[in-house]
Structure formats: structure tokens, C-alpha cells
Symmetry: C2
Subunit: 318 residues, 2 copies
């Protein structure tokens, strides 16, 4: 008997800019609106961006702890975010949400760039904390825009877990993680079939950005398409986009098949929902042929990958 395919309808809920002046309640309202639209489109799961509750605050330097702390959630759900969980349960839709997480433990507060996976009953079933923090830890006065993720966040301490959820195997990563093949491979080695991720990617020309703007979309697509293909998994990448407080952010939210093909992509830099039917069984073909890891990988040849962070470039080696 042939089993019916496992088709999961997924919505990528791209967000336009979030102003510094917007309250959590206002942002949550935008998310609820997107969630409702996703439900109307028959989505099983709706994916929101990285740090979806606030402006992308690592672009600014703050001296005082309280100026930073206001961007962080001390509980999830919290007073303003509880509505998302309630509405999800009501509609019977899962969601993935990125936010800044503050954790109090014996050593003092820890801060993470976090995302959660919530099932159709409004219950959190997975949590991921960003491993690859980009940018710098020190304030750089010469830059118009900072990228202070290494100052404001700790490196994620939960690894790259996957969860049996939504009738498949689901993993998460966040923004800069998507540029690193190790991210996808860690989940691929656990059989992942759907990776959901959000991003805030400045698309500013040098000297404030690090490259010409026109390359940002190429690199976004390339990283996610190769991660999908080389691990035979669906990838759903969701942007916070547009001109946020004067800083241009990349859009290009995309839903990518296990073949590496982009099957849906956002075309605006605003709140925009894109939807695709993700057949999780479409992963099986490549997982059992070209990317049958057991047959083809040679882990004893990959030593350096875990032995060293690496050289910081040719010139430094000499």
C-alpha cells in the first residue's frame, strides 16, 4: 500500500520594518494579522522572522543595560505575546517566532537570539538559540550602523536539535547561521526534513555594509538553496525587510525545496505572506541516493572541521 505523501502547507510571514517606537502590542497585532492570513491560506505552520518583536536593535550602541534589556523577553509567552499562543491554538496553526531571550541563572543574566517552535495546540515544542553570531563585540564609532550581536548575545547553548513535529523532522536556525554549511549538516545528520529560519540582513553598501548591495540576494539564495539541496531538506527563510529606522534590510523570503529549487519568494520589502505545499516525502529521494550519507560520507577525512575554528585568512597565517 502506498502511503499518502506528507504535505505540510507552510507560510513564510515576512515583516516590513518595525519602528523603535512601536510597542510590543502593536507588533503582536501585526503578527496576529499575518497568522490569520496564513490560516485562511490553509497553512499548518507560519514562520516569523528573527527578532520579530522589535526593531533590529544590534545596529545601535547602547551604554546602559536598561536600554538593551527592554528589547528582551523574560518569559515566553509573556503578557503581550500570550495572544499569539492563544490565537494559534484557536486556529489550529503552528508557528515559529524569533525573539531576544533573557535568562536568569546562577551566573547572572544570559541573553540569547532565540527562536521557538509552537505546535497547533499553542504549546512550545522546540527552542533554538543562535550559534553563529555575526558582527562585532566592540563599539565602532566610525560605523554609521553597528552590528553588535557579539556584544548583546551569548553564543547559543542548545546545539542544533531537531524535533519530530508536524508529521516530519523539523529544525531551526537563525540568520547568519544560514551562511554556514555546518548548520544544515548538523541537522541533516539527524534526518531533518524542514528547516525554518528568520533573518535580519542589512543590505547597505560599503563602507557601512561589507559588500555591494546587489550581492546580498545572491548570497541569501545561494546559502539556503545549497543547504536545502545538500541535505535534501525543505528550507523556509523569512526576512525582516525594508528600510527600518533608515537602515535598508534585505527581503527575499523564500521557500526552498529539497532539490534546491526556490518554489516561492517574496517580492516586496513589507509584510508579505508567501505559501507553499511542502511535501516532506520529497526529501526521501535525495536522502536515499546522492545524499545517502551512510554510503557516501567519509567522516574520518573531515577532521579539521571540528578540530579548529580555522585561520582568519591567508595574510594572518604568514
Amino acid at each position: 500500500m502506498v502511503e499518502p505523501n506528507r504535505v505540510l502547507t507552510v507560510g513564510a510571514a515576512q515583516l516590513g520594518p518595525i519602528a523603535l517606537s512601536e510597542t510590543r502590542a502593536q507588533v503582536v497585532n501585526r503578527l496576529l494579522h499575518m497568522m490569520t492570513r496564513a490560516h485562511e491560506r490553509r497553512c499548518d505552520l507560519v514562520v516569523f522572522p528573527e527578532l520579530a518583536l522589535t526593531s533590529f536593535f544590534p545596529r545601535w550602541h547602547f551604554d546602559k543595560a536598561e536600554d538593551i534589556d527592554r528589547f528582551f523577553e523574560k518569559s515566553m509567552p509573556g503578557p503581550e505575546t500570550r495572544l499569539l499562543f492563544e490565537r494559534a491554538a484557536e486556529l489550529g496553526i503552528g508557528f515559529c517566532l524569533g525573539f531576544a531571550e533573557m535568562v536568569d541563572d546562577a551566573d547572572g543574566a544570559k541573553r540569547f537570539n532565540t527562536s521557538i517552535l509552537v505546535d497547533k495546540t499553542g504549546v512550545e515544542i522546540g527552542r533554538y538559540r543562535k550559534v553563529h553570531l555575526p558582527g562585532h563585540a566592540d563599539y565602532k564609532p566610525a560605523r554609521k550602523w553597528q552590528h553588535l550581536e557579539k556584544a548583546y548575545f551569548d553564543v547559543g547553548d542548545l546545539g542544533f536539535p531537531v524535533w519530530r513535529a508536524f508529521d516530519g523532522i523539523v529544525g531551526m536556525c537563525i540568520c547568519n547561521d544560514r551562511r554556514w554549511p555546518e548548520t544544515y549538516r548538523m541537522m541533516g545528520l539527524q534526518g531533518v526534513e524542514l528547516i525554518v529560519l528568520g533573518y535580519n540582513t542589512p543590505a547597505t553598501e560599503p563602507p557601512w555594509g561589507f559588500e555591494p548591495t546587489h550581492l546580498a540576494a545572491l548570497h541569501n539564495n545561494l546559502s539556503m538553496q545549497s543547504g536545502a539541496y545538500q541535505n535534501a531538506t525543505w528550507v523556509v527563510g523569512v526576512a525582516k525587510a525594508g528600510r527600518e529606522e533608515g537602515c535598508d534590510m534585505l527581503g527575499g523570503s523564500a521557500i526552498i525545496a529539497p532539490t534546491g529549487e526556490i518554489v516561492a519568494q517574496a517580492r516586496t520589502l513589507d509584510d508579505e505572506l508567501i505559501v507553499a505545499d511542502c511535501d516532506l516525502d520529497a526529501c526521501n529521494h535525495y536522502k536515499s541516493t546522492v545524499f545517502n550519507f551512510v554510503e557516501h560520507r567519509q567522516p574520518d577525512k573531515y577532521g579539521l572541521i571540528t578540530e579548529t575554528a580555522g585561520s582568519s585568512g591567508r595574510r594572518d597565517q604568514e
Copy 2:
């Protein structure tokens, strides 16, 4: 004082089909012709495909050792290939050549899918043996075309070395190696600036191939472009292309910049030379920013990559 950029002019010498009936001397003549054209175009280095001296013999099943052995080189240079080294020295051009290598050692003969890097004086300076052998080890009578690399070759035993050559850091890999991000990363961690590789990629529809033909070019580009970008290195990929003994082979030879941009690509399925000026200093920017490995990689989070080959797919895990 600003150093002049290190610009290396590289030719990718795509080959059309090689018939079973062609002699080594005939094939070497084609290679000499391409080498001369590359010299006329002022190339410092010309890159030939994988198994560039013969038809892609793993597509056939052979019972007798002597039927297989005739495709292998027992010495390099050998009687017919010596001309390539002599002409290279004469012209002052380096080359990379893929061939089937037979090595006699105490345990009997070993067979590798090999490539060599030869400098402008005609001296071999680097040797690589293919690590990721695709296909199968057992004869599959139901297939029109076999892919018996796992039967005819041993897994490469030289790792993924890089060489200081051509005023830069150069590495090699072969064909299916290019689909595996570990390949590029192993060389990226050693500061590689130019990866040269050849391939023979069947582009046949199911049931003889494993996917629709139109995806073969996407996957070829995607693998090489992401490998280049994510390791901030030039990648030069060179096909044996066209209908070889009735079997269609992918073309699409490409020269790819450290940005992941394709700067030159073959458009025929025949002997075709494409050339690009590869500024090795163009690697520096990404190696010192987004892909500054020392600052951003988290090798203690990548354990599974070297601990396990992996699962062979979801269904097998259960």
C-alpha cells in the same frame, strides 16, 4: 605601499566526449591543442576534466581485470602523457589533469580517481585522490548505464591537501566531491584561494539517472557557487561533456569568484576553452569579514560532522 593584486589567468578546458576507440595518443593531442589555445590566451594554468584521458568507463560493467586496467595509468608521466609535461614546460603554463591511477604496493594494486597539479616548468607539485566516490559497487543489470566508481576505485588516501603554488594557495577535488560542503571547508580551513576540479556528470533522465535532467545544471552551479562563497575562494570546475558513447554528460564548466558569482561558463557540450582573470586577492575581503573563521566558527558545536557518517534517510532510522 600597496602590493599589486595577485591575478592568475586560468583556463577551463572543457572536453567533449571521448570515444572508447580513441587512443591515448589521440586524446593527448586534443589536450595539447587546448593547452596551446590556453597559452595563446595568456593562461598561467589550464584545467582539464576528471578522467581526461579516457571515456568515462565506470558506466560499463567489466568482468575481467584487464578490461578495466587498460583505462588506468601506471606512471605519470607515462609514454603517451609525457608530451603534456614537455609542452607545458616549453610554453610556461601550469596544468591540472584528471586520470585513473594504478598503484602497486605490498597489498596488491590500488586504484584511484586522481588529479595532479603541474607547475609551469612541467613538474608535478600536487596530487589528489578522490574521496567521495559516487554510484555503487555492485553490477546492476537493470540499469542501462552503470556508475561503478565504488567498484573500480579505492577511496582517496591523501585527504584534502592544499599547495602554495601559482602565487597563491591551491587545492583540488574531483566531480562528486564538489557536492559535499566538507570538501570545500577542509581546504577553506587551510586558507585555499583556488580550487580546481574536473567532473563527468551523467545527465540522463530516470530511470537511468536519478533526477530530471534540467536539475543537473542547477545542482552543478549551486554546489560550486556555495563552496566558493562560503570559503571565499575561486572555484574552477571543468566538465567532460556531451553524448559519450550514447550517454549524455553535463557541460556547464564554470569559473566562479569568491563572491559565488559565475564569471565564465561554457555554452557548448564540446571541447571549449573558457578563461578568466582570477584575482586571488579578491578572497581576502570575505576571509577577513563574514567568513573570518576564527571569529565566527563554533567547532565545538559541529561534533556529529566527524562523529558519524549519518543516517541513510528518515525511513531507515525508524
